[in-house]
Every structure is written in C-alpha cells, then in structure tokens.
Symmetry: D2
Subunit: 339 residues, 4 copies
Amino acid sequence: MIGFGVVGYGYWGPNLVRNLSELPGAAVVVVADAKAERQRLAKTRHPVVEVTNDADRLIDDPRVDAVVIATPVASHFELARKALLAGKHVLVEKPICASAREAEELISLANARSLVLMVDHTFPYTGAVRKIKQLIDTGEIGQVYYYDGVRVNLGLFQKDVSVLWDLAVHDLSIMDYVLGKHPVAVSCTGCNHIPGQPEDIAHMTLFFDGSLIAHLHVNWLSPVKLRRTLIGGSEKMIVYDDLEASEKIKVHNKGLVMEADQENLNQMLLRGYRSGDVWSPQVDLTEALRVELLHFMQCIEGKEKPLTDGRSGLRVVRILEAAEQSLRMRGAPVQLEAS
Amino acid sequence: MIGFGVVGYGYWGPNLVRNLSELPGAAVVVVADAKAERQRLAKTRHPVVEVTNDADRLIDDPRVDAVVIATPVASHFELARKALLAGKHVLVEKPICASAREAEELISLANARSLVLMVDHTFPYTGAVRKIKQLIDTGEIGQVYYYDGVRVNLGLFQKDVSVLWDLAVHDLSIMDYVLGKHPVAVSCTGCNHIPGQPEDIAHMTLFFDGSLIAHLHVNWLSPVKLRRTLIGGSEKMIVYDDLEASEKIKVHNKGLVMEADQENLNQMLLRGYRSGDVWSPQVDLTEALRVELLHFMQCIEGKEKPLTDGRSGLRVVRILEAAEQSLRMRGAPVQLEAS
Amino acid sequence: MIGFGVVGYGYWGPNLVRNLSELPGAAVVVVADAKAERQRLAKTRHPVVEVTNDADRLIDDPRVDAVVIATPVASHFELARKALLAGKHVLVEKPICASAREAEELISLANARSLVLMVDHTFPYTGAVRKIKQLIDTGEIGQVYYYDGVRVNLGLFQKDVSVLWDLAVHDLSIMDYVLGKHPVAVSCTGCNHIPGQPEDIAHMTLFFDGSLIAHLHVNWLSPVKLRRTLIGGSEKMIVYDDLEASEKIKVHNKGLVMEADQENLNQMLLRGYRSGDVWSPQVDLTEALRVELLHFMQCIEGKEKPLTDGRSGLRVVRILEAAEQSLRMRGAPVQLEAS
Amino acid sequence: MIGFGVVGYGYWGPNLVRNLSELPGAAVVVVADAKAERQRLAKTRHPVVEVTNDADRLIDDPRVDAVVIATPVASHFELARKALLAGKHVLVEKPICASAREAEELISLANARSLVLMVDHTFPYTGAVRKIKQLIDTGEIGQVYYYDGVRVNLGLFQKDVSVLWDLAVHDLSIMDYVLGKHPVAVSCTGCNHIPGQPEDIAHMTLFFDGSLIAHLHVNWLSPVKLRRTLIGGSEKMIVYDDLEASEKIKVHNKGLVMEADQENLNQMLLRGYRSGDVWSPQVDLTEALRVELLHFMQCIEGKEKPLTDGRSGLRVVRILEAAEQSLRMRGAPVQLEAS
C-alpha cells in the first residue's frame, strides 16, 4: 500500500484525490489546503482522510510515501524540494516549476536520492495521444510535416502566469511525447488586454531541424472552446479534436503526390494531390489521470520508468522561457539549447 | 451598356463571365485565354461571346470599356498597365500585383486618366463581412481586442506564389475593410515542404497601435478545410465561419467583467467573466461577385467610389512583402510604413 | 435535516447519493443494493453511510424520512408501496411503475397519507427544458405546430423493458411539462432484432386536439448518439440539442407568412416563408438532479408542490401502455383517456 | 447525336439543360415553359437553344429524340403519354406520375413501343448511395436491421402535392435501389398546418418480411435542414449525411455481440456491444444528374438497361398511395401488393 499526501484541493486536486481513492494499492492519507472552504469540501467528500492546512506536516507525515502537488506554479519548487529532501516521491502538476533553473535542481535532488520525480503532463496518458504516437512511430503518417495546435476558451484560470504557462504547456508536453525530436528555436507573439495582467493570447512557432514546423495558438479570450490539433504527414494527416465525444482522432488518407524528377533525381516534383478515405480509430477512453497515477505507482515500485519525468518537464519549461523572451521582442526568434 | 473583356478563363474567370452575363447593363464582349481547352469551354457555355487567345487585341477592342483580369499574379501588372494606357477601366483579381512598386504605378496611371482601378477583394462584398463591419462600426462588440483568422485546406492552387499571396490576401482584405486601422508591424513564420516550391504553411502576427493584435494561419497542406475567424471585443465576440450554410456569423455575448480599482482609478481590475446568449444575425446571401460587379459598374458610371480600390490593394501587398521578409528571418518583426 | 434511504446503487443510484451527500439539510442514512460489488463501491465512496442488502430494513429505518427508489421498473411498485405504507415520502425513478393500475394505487396511497410521491422525471429540472417551457408559455414561439424528438444511441440499458419504457419516457415527461396539453391518441410502430428481447427501435406519433402533432424516435441500435428535439411554432421554431455543450437551445426566427384571404376571411393563405436571426439563450447549467432533489425536499417540507408528481408519472405510463398496444397492431391508433 | 427537348424550366429544368449542354453526344434542341420570364432566362443562358411555350410542338419536333419532363407532378402522365405515343424516349422527374394507374399505363406504352422510360430518381446516381449499395451487397454491414431517413427543411416547394410526394419519394427511391427487398405494409401519420394545404409533416414506417423495418421523417416546417439516414446492420452501421461536404458516408464498426445459447442452439443471446473504428470511404462526387443523363443516353442507344425504370417509379408511387391511405386512418397499417 502506497500512502499519498495531496497538497492543493482547488481545481485539479479533487480529481487527484478521487482517482487515488479508487486505485487499489493506494491510500490517500492527508490532504492539505490553505483555504477553510476547500478543507470542508475535502472532508465532506472523503470523511476518513485527514485534512490539514499545513503542507509541511503533510510532507513529514511518516505514512506519506509520495507527495502530489496541485498548487499554483510559484509554489511547486519549494514544495517539491521539501518533499524530495524528506525522501518522498513527487508528482507535480504542470508546469513542473516556474523556471528551468528550479527544474534542474529538482532533477538533481531526485537523482541523488533515487526518488521518482514525475510531472503531471496528463495528455500523454490519454488514449488519443497514445494513438497519435503510434501512428507516428509506425510510420503510418510518413514524415511529419507540421504540428498545429489550437487551445482556446474564455477564462483566466491562473493569475500568476500567462496563457503560455497555463495552456501551451499541454501542447508542448504532447509534442515532447509524440514527435521524437525537439525544437531548435522559437518565435512567439502575444498580447495582454487587461492592464497589469499577463498575456491572454499567444501564438508560438517552433522550428525544428529539417522541414518540420509546429505552431500553437493559445487564447483565454475566445468566445468558443476549441481543442484541435492538425498533424500533417507525407503519407497521411491527423485531426485530433479533444472535444469530440467519440471520434477524437481522424486519420485522413490525403497528401501530396510526388515523383522524382527524371533529370535531377535528388529533386521531387509535385504531381498532384491524393484524397482518400477517412478513418477514425477507436481510442481507449479510460480517464487519463487514472492511467497516469497507476504509472506513478509502478514507477515508485521500480517497475517502470516515468514517461513524463523531470527532464520532460524541464524541456517544456525551457521552451516556455524562450517563448516569453521572443514575445517581448515581437516574435524575434530565440535559439533553444539541446536538453 | 458597359462592354467587358475578361482576360483569363481558368479557375475564377468562368465565375466572372457567368455573373457579368446575367447583369443588366453589362455585356461580355470578348474572353481571352491562352489555352485552347479553356477557349473551347468558354465558347460552349457562351456561344455568342467572342473568344480569343490574344489579350492585347481584347484590350484594344473598341467595344471593351472595362478589362477584368483573372490571370496569374505575375501578369497582373503588365495587363492592367496596358488596359489603363488604352483608357479602359480595370478590375484585377487579388492580389493587385506582385509588388508594392507595381501597385503604386497602376494607381498613378489610373488617377492620371480618371479611370476606375478596382481590386477583386471579394470578401468585403459578402453579407457576412458587411455584417461584421456593422457590428464593429456601431460599437456593438466594443473595443476590438483581436482578429484571428484560419484559412486552411489541401491544395496548391498557384505555383508562382506562396500560400501567403494565395490565401492570406483574403484575410488581409477583410481586415483592411472591417478594422478601420492598419497594422504597424508584422512577424511571420512559415515553411515549405516541397523542394523548390514556395511556402505552403504560414503564420502571421500583425501588431497595431494599442492592444489590438491579429493573427492569420494559412495552410495548403491541411487535411480539412477551415475558414474560421474569431474577433474578440471588449463587449461581445464574433465567430465567423464561412463554411456554415446558414449561421455564418455568431455573436457571443461574452466577455470580461472589469471594474475600476478604487485606489487607482486609472486601473481596471478583472472581476470575472460574462457568459450570455449567442445570436446569429441573418446575412445577405447574394453572391458576392454579383454585388462587386454591380459596384464596379456604378463606379465606372461615376455613381460610387470603389470600396476595394488600388490603395487597399497596395496596403495588402505591402503587408505581404513585409511578411515575406519576416518569414526569411524566422519571425523577426518588420515595421510597416503608413500607406 | 431530512434522512434519506436510497434503494438501488446501479447506474443512477450513485448520482442520487452523490447529490444528496452535498445538499445542505439532507443526510443519506442508508443505501441498499442486492449486489455485493455495488455495496463495496458505495462503502468506498461514502464510508460513513450505512450499506445494506435489505431494502425492507432501509424502509423501516426510523432515521429515514424519504425513500429514493433507483431499481429496475418491475420493483418500483412494491418498494414504493411499502415505503408509503411505512409513512415515508417517495421519489421513484422513471417510469413510475410498470402499469397505470400500479401508479394509480400509489397515488391513492400517498394522497391518503399526505405523503409526497414524486417521479424522477429529470428533464423538467434542466435549464434547457425550463427555457423551452418559458418560450412556449410566453407565446414567443406562437401556436405550437409540432414536437419532434429523437433519442437514439447504442445500448440496451434495461433488459426488462422495451426502448419505449427506457427512452421515450424522457420525451413524454418533457412534453407533459412544456406543452400544456395532453395527447388524445397514439400510433406506434417498432421492432426487435434480438429474439426474445423487447423492442429496440420504436416510432411513436401522438395526436392532440387541433393541429398539434408529436413524434418520438427511440432506438437502442443507433451508431451515433442523438438527443435532438425540434419544436415548430407559428412564430418561431426551437432546436434543442442536449448534447451541445453550450448552445443547447436555438430559437430560429423562421416561419410561414400567412395572410387572410380577402374573399374568405376565415381562411389563411400562405404567402411565403420568413427566415431570420437565430438566437441561443443562455440556460442554467446546474445539474438537474440537484435542482430536483432540492425541490423534493421543499415538497417534503410543505413549501412547494411536486412538479413531477404521481399524476404526471401516471399520464406518461398510460401513453406507454397505449403505444405498446398500437405497436402490436402495426401502428393502428389507440385512443387515450383523459388523465 | 441525341436530340433532347426539355419541358419545364422552373427549379429543376435549368440543371437538366445545363448538364445536357455539356454532355458529348447530346444536343438540347428545344426548351418549353409556359412562363415568359423563364423563357427569357433560358434564352439568356442558352442563346442557341430554341425556346417555346408549346410543349406539344416540342414533343412533335423531329429533331427531338428524347423528351425530358420537369413539370409539376399533375402534368407528368399526359406529357409522357404524348411523348411515348410520338415515339420519343422519356425521362420524367420524380415521382413518375400522380397515381399507380397512370404509371402502369406509361410502362405498357413504353414496352409496346420499345422506348426507354426512365424516372429521374437522382439519388441512386450519387457516389454516396452507390457506396451504400456496395456496402449492403457485399455483406459488409451484415443483415440490414433498419433504415431510418430524415429529410426536413423549411419550405413548401410544390403546392399540388403533400410533403410525402415531394420529399419521401427520394428516400423511397434510395431504398428501392439499395435494400434489394420491398415493403409489405406501411403505417403513416402526418398533419397539415395551413388550412386547405396538403400535409407538411409526415412519418412513415415501412414493414418488410423478417425483422427489417424502415422509417422516414419528412417535414416542410423544420427550422433546420437535415438530410440524414441511419442504416443499422448486424455487423456494421452506416450514417449517411448528404449535407456533409466531404465525409458523406461513415461506417461504424459497431454492433451487438451475440452468442448461441448452449441449451437452445436456435436462439441467440445478447452478450454485449461492440464499439470500434469509424471509417469514411471516399465517394465519387461527380454530379449525379450528369451520371444519370449519361446512363439515359446509354439506355437510348441500347447499351444499358435503365436503373430507375418505370417499374421502380411505379413501386414508389404505390407506397405513396398506401401511405396516404394510412395517414387518413391515423397510422392504421395498409398492405402493399407485390409489384
């Protein structure tokens, strides 16, 4: 039995506690939150779990083997650091930390103590994103030409970070998982519309070696909620719409028809377009958080390696930092060092 | 009766000839196209119209009062120049020319001869875009926060120009018409995936004075066809989906709820979000090209001023030139001079 | 504080217990279910609630003021009867009983003892259906011409009843609430595709006095899930799509344009069609079950009268019985007695 | 070269003339319409075609080999009869005639004279419906369980017939083509909402031998336009949405999971449901009318047999007559004699 302490019972914490409560082999021992109202809510829903406002006590509780952190980004580093120093495994909500420097320190700490440090990048644990990875890895869609993500809706869910750190982090974690290569530079533009508040709209282009290009559009001021990703390949193309109830992934058998130039065999000529069937593979609809928490438990027991480990968290934060830098220069590109 | 000569009977020319044929007061006298197959097609459909392969003869034909140019961009300048020099009014397909310099020369020529020079920016003549302009002009949506256009599909329709010159020109002409202000800088990124071919994907951010920002996504390699524009305002927000058969425009009564800071009255604080009804105004579904050609005829007769005149064509081309420059610098911003 | 006993912890029971647990003034005292697995699940989720396999003990428990019945239809009557005889208020899942005769007996029992007998017709407690009632009651859509409901998906959720008793009951309860008049005859057709099983597809036409007509299509063998209702009125028309996340109700300003015949003023002539704006009013998205349970509590406290009382449950069951009779005669109409 | 005369230049006639004009081997010789305005329109669009108000002269014109009839239903019989008596092949718009008796007479006339008599049931010539037939014929979807068609919109296009004769005829002609079996009885309900006008809403159930059932919903008073057909099979299920631009047909790999009862091997037990991939086959998007007219020409030249011959027209009309009879009896079933 693995004992869990969950810090933060706001938007995401209740989902963590609910899932952990129903997992065999897991026991939620303590929930910590600073707000009295949330403590009451946790107590009503989980009468046998201890509820506290003291995160430090939770971390030091000897029944707690693993600390799950679901607090605002600014506090991630300090809480995760304390937990690792106390010898506890850590699962921290995305993004891992407020800076690459902080993430690097957590990675070192966890390595030195052989503790599991995992980031709660939820999407790689969904059936849809796993299917996309499979379609790319097996070569079914051919060479990947582009990744284009749109993630927009109305609402500033976090006051301490911009829309980049709130929404783009999802797409960056998906790309980190499915593309198998990492960007070399980023250009980002954006704007805020409320004086004194962080950016509420941003557009980010990611450059890769070769002809792969990625673009993310994130927006807190959209009248409609959109969660749509296009992935173009040389053989097929994917439309991933996370708001679709049943056909989340569609694979379009469409593409360019190329032929070698007879005179210059190194050159390909465009002969036309190919338009064929559309296929929507069934995807596993198990709640991603359940899959992720089971994986975290397997990692704690030494049976698996974290899929979304500290280093993937670090790579995502490095891109976010570079994007912010580019945004302040109205899109001028910023190089990314290899992680 | 105004006599028309139409140069180019490829993708767009047949629409021009069909519409002109059914307009009272208009007579299509000659159609010119270099390809025999297209000449045959024009002849079958319009047995009483003269068909030729000689654009110069068409321009000089004394029965021709106005020349309509629907040829590849590279030939626009030369054909329009000849027509103006021959004293003919000109309607030229978008974009007006392959460079700002060329557009400036055409504008001078037309001014000097008091001839009508109009660009075939079709969208400002649609009921949907006219409704958007009305919603902005009357203040119904409040201060415009952003314009976000997506125009993607599969297919390279033009070999001589990039996707910017083919697709972004539509959104730029809509913005030129509805926003009432012009961008001061542009950042653009993009990529080509066929060796030796122009860019097939591009993302363009347009910066305006104040907090208005615009973004365009154009893509020739998309598995799905999308034509969707979001326009966010301080009071309401618009979703314009040109592929919707009947509800092309939706006005969402959504927005931020702001209140003056009691301590610092110059500052506005975000109190929350407002989510209300959605309203889809009926829009005039008359074919835009018909409206545009009627307007062109009114301009020739001196009764109206061209809505999409040479100067609007020039403004659009200047943005396209700056965007291409930025694209080659991976998004570094390029300033736009006031037109 | 009102003490609740919930009988049945299968598909719907957990929603009842979860909602009751979070309602101020309500306390779930006992949950009864015959299956060990479900008892375990109830215990895990609600460690402080007593769990039993003995419904009779639950009914007799002096802490239980109201019994909520979420078991298969066949057992509704016996359980509700016992509860009423034991002096407990009753909320019974839809349909109220397996026959009109049973429903009548329950109504008498409840009346005689002044107990609240309510049917869990959930839809009248949704914001969407309440908005529809308002649009009809205020005359906004004019005279109602027709009600057309489609409720189809894949899956036989109940083995003891046909698709009529499982799905059509929802639409009948909505109509009972919004239309303000009751059908006088019914024609029903349908089919079963699994030997020995009840009908999995049915189509029901309901005739009313005047020119109002209603039709329901229910289907357990549909590849897609649809929940769409069209309501046509003389002034406006409603599209109600319960699967839409945000725009559940759309009011189309469309209709016929009629004018009085000059020669025969009692006769109306069709002059044409009217096509106008579409308006999607915001609807209250509070979980209907919460609204319904609060209302049940108000009724128990004597502050409100049940909206979906035993008589509305009876009216719905009478239609279902007549529809089954018609179905066996391949659509021959069956008269309905006034309830 | 086959010479064509087209009678009727209202809603559908222009499509017939336009298609015939561009078909190799076909020549439109005369167009007849009683209204001056339509004659003018035909003349403007087709300056070299003779236009008349005299259908009799058109029929007798020796240059006319085949008469295409696109007039109101009431006139079909008389015009087709004259044309056949004059030795002309006939293509008549759907429905073939206003009664089965009339259709029988035309069939006899055509047979006696060895002339082609074809009904303009357009849908069997679309790529989508041909794909459906293929999916049924190859056994891909298994045993057909049901056919469910919805065809609704706003607008009474024909004053002389009810919505059944206007809209249901399309679905009946599709079923006649794809199902390979014919209904044995029909139950139909409906209503009119404009005094003195025919029914504007109707629901029709068709009974077949075995467990196949079909239902059609047609409605002239719908706020939205829907053209959706569900076809459920024992192996797979089809969704056919004719308003979809590119994915008109979707094949859902969904169904029941049955197993033989060990005790009674003749009985099948339902074990559960199967939910799998969705596949949207590409369909030929050639304009159906062009395919149909080419086929008509092949039939005239004796190279093919009419797919939608007089007998299929007759079968459809017999169902319509029985449906009207049932409608007047509020859904009481009416037997169909084998055609």
